[in-house]
Symmetry: C2
Subunit: 398 residues, 2 copies
């Protein structure tokens, strides 16, 4: 499939900053025609977020590759009219305003479904469009704090720690993408679109997977436990001569290989403190000390090589330089892709992790300049002439 798995889908993208734009980037990478609609003269807030090259935001340029960019003032009547005409030709509207903003403009789902009953209307916000807190503003840090993630992340005895990326936004964007695709599937059955409502906080809560079960089983909220996992051992980070590395020893056979073939410590295998995974979880501290006695004499690379050669999962802790140069990650899996931007020049954007083998995600174009495709898109979809577009531009509508 030359044009991608979603090449039959047209998306009107009103989103800003991270959560929404991440979702529409995934849709665009998979072949959807994404039309990003920005405020004339200003655009997505993230156009003003650093880092910058030649005055252009890399932040924006990374998350908005593969999208068409148009400007439209949706606060004036003519702008709303143009938007409604676009909605007639589209499959999906995506927005990440605070709940209620689109309704106040007269462009909420209840309005738009009158214009096009097949439209899927997808919104992501801090707390969702209903529920006690739905009017609260939500940013990524709020979702990491209120979704419980910070309370279980961080060094033992230390403080709650957030994931260093905007993880709440990413989880929200991924869930929104699933919701859109599920609603499009439902439309095959019903002929009708519907609303998709995703919240960052819900998305973080859902990501906690089994951690919540540990609380339900004990009635004790889990304490911070650094990099180790509660139910597996040794499954943690360990000190080396030059830093840290990780071991993921998921079962008894792997523990046996670790002791016999990597550490050369058959005594550990027979030690009553470490006989079973449950015992190792209880005695993780002393076991860690035993392993570090060995690894502190080696570099991380040496330790990982020896443990891996023994058939036990182990890995270095890669930084962003490492991953961007790593053969498997950066090149074989195309997780960094070079595009040519008219102002930035050559730049590397994040690749897409969803490999459809007969319809690979493709990064075909860089992010749009503000309003770059206004003529093209409004001409193609609405039949507007260059003259008409110019007139609208003079009136501040485009």
């Amino acid at each position: 499939m030359e044009n991608g798995a979603l090449s039959n889908i047209v998306v009107l993208d009103l989103t800003r900053v991270v959560a929404g734009p991440y979702c529409t980037a995934v849709l665009a990478d998979l072949g959807a025609e994404v039309i990003k609609i920005e405020i004339p003269g200003k655009g997505d807030d993230s156009r003003s977020y650093g880092p910058f090259v030649n005055g252009e935001s890399l932040y924006y340029a990374n998350l908005n590759r593969n999208k068409h960019g148009v400007t439209l003032n949706m606060k004036v009547e003519k702008g709303k009219e143009i938007f409604r005409e676009l909605v007639k030709k589209a499959d999906v509207v995506v927005e990440n305003y605070r709940p209620g903003v689109m309704d106040k403009l007269g462009l909420g789902y209840d309005n738009l479904k009158e214009v096009n009953p097949r439209i899927v209307y997808a919104a992501v916000s801090g707390f969702g469009s209903y529920g006690a807190y739905h009017k609260r503003p939500g940013y990524d840090i709020i979702s990491q704090a209120m979704g419980g993630l910070m309370s279980i992340s961080g060094p033992e005895g230390g403080s709650p720690t957030r994931a260093g990326n905007a993880m709440g936004d990413i989880l929200g964007g991924l869930n929104l993408t699933i919701g859109i695709l599920a609603a499009l599937n439902a439309r095959q059955m019903t002929g009708k679109g519907q609303r998709v409502d995703v919240s960052l906080v819900d998305s973080v809560v859902s990501s906690l997977e089994t951690c919540t079960q540990r609380y339900f089983a004990t009635n004790e909220p889990p304490k911070l436990q650094g990099n180790r996992y509660g139910h597996l051992s040794p499954y943690d980070s360990f000190k080396s001569k030059d830093g840290m590395f990780v071991i993921g020893c998921g079962n008894q056979k792997l523990f046996s290989l670790l002791c016999l073939k990597a550490l050369n410590r058959p005594d550990l295998l027979e030690n009553p403190m470490y006989l079973t995974n449950d015992l190792r979880c209880q005695n993780h501290k002393t076991l860690k000390a035993e392993i570090e006695k060995w690894s502190e004499n080696l570099t991380s690379e040496e330790a990982v090589d020896v443990i891996s050669a023994a058939g036990v999962p182990a890995a270095p802790i890669l930084n962003l330089k490492d991953i961007s140069e790593n053969r498997h990650i950066a090149f074989d899996r195309e997780m960094f892709v070079t595009v040519e931007h008219p102002i930035i020049g050559k730049m590397r954007v994040n690749g897409n992790p969803i490999k459809l083998l007969d319809a690979m995600p493709r990064i075909k174009s860089c992010a749009p300049l503000l309003g770059q495709h206004t003529e093209e898109i409004f001409g193609k979809f609405l039949g507007m002439s260059a003259e008409e577009i110019n007139r609208c531009r003079e009136q501040g509508i485009l």
Copy 2:
């Protein structure tokens, strides 16, 4: 839609532990008929992971709600034959074995597409099915270490820190779900299924969003910076009398509200060190100290109340007890749902964050006991009689 947005989809689920089961739980919550196929007498590895209630794993029970459970020995010819018959009736096969395992069984995509060209074959693994590292085993901790996430998470001056949940698994599961739904959409156009290949490491790399751009702009891998964000300030956690809370002050107007209406410190607003967001990012340390001078005299709840009342985003850091009792999260948004399990009794499982307003995700049933639906499913899909099923059971096939 009484039966959910994916009620036309039948999924054969060969997955174990987290990444795959999380994906198929999302599909099941949205209405897909998910048939979990487990090894006779043993089942999913996570049936042996704690915590336990009455000997049953809450870990397994949480991630496998809403699924049908059958047993099938796919290592013997009759078992393979039964599996191929199921594939004829299914839309999707999902697995998270190490790449190559299904091919060795003669049940890889190339075999199954001969049986049913419309089948979507989705696999999630540590490093994906191709690329230099594709044979390496990958667990969540490996993906958090090699995907770059640990290198940017953790206290300033501290050590790389993983997210306290199995975040790599969750991201992988979400991307796999998107890939499946995109491939089903593509099938509407082509009439054919295809392979979906997702890796945990790719999924973590993709989640780094703009952090990689900070590296590309400076050629310096970002250092650990605790809970603050590089490009916004004050946007961080802050100490209170009884713990910590967060402030998300995303723009100049919010900073002004914070200084004037919450901290009562107009001098901060006029201080040349804090005039712009860029300056505040540079001088985040002294600004944090100024804010904590105020907040250290208040409880987290008091500080959040004052700042929120000023119109500035702020939040407590909730633990798992807090979120499970929170009105908005647990009840209004249904992020914890009670189901009745025949052995565990009443238990709370995680809700689904993808709210389709005309086809809400629903948690209709608890996780299956091992082989619970073998008769029902093999009867319904393959017309097998109770007698035939019993014979297969005696032979170790079911």
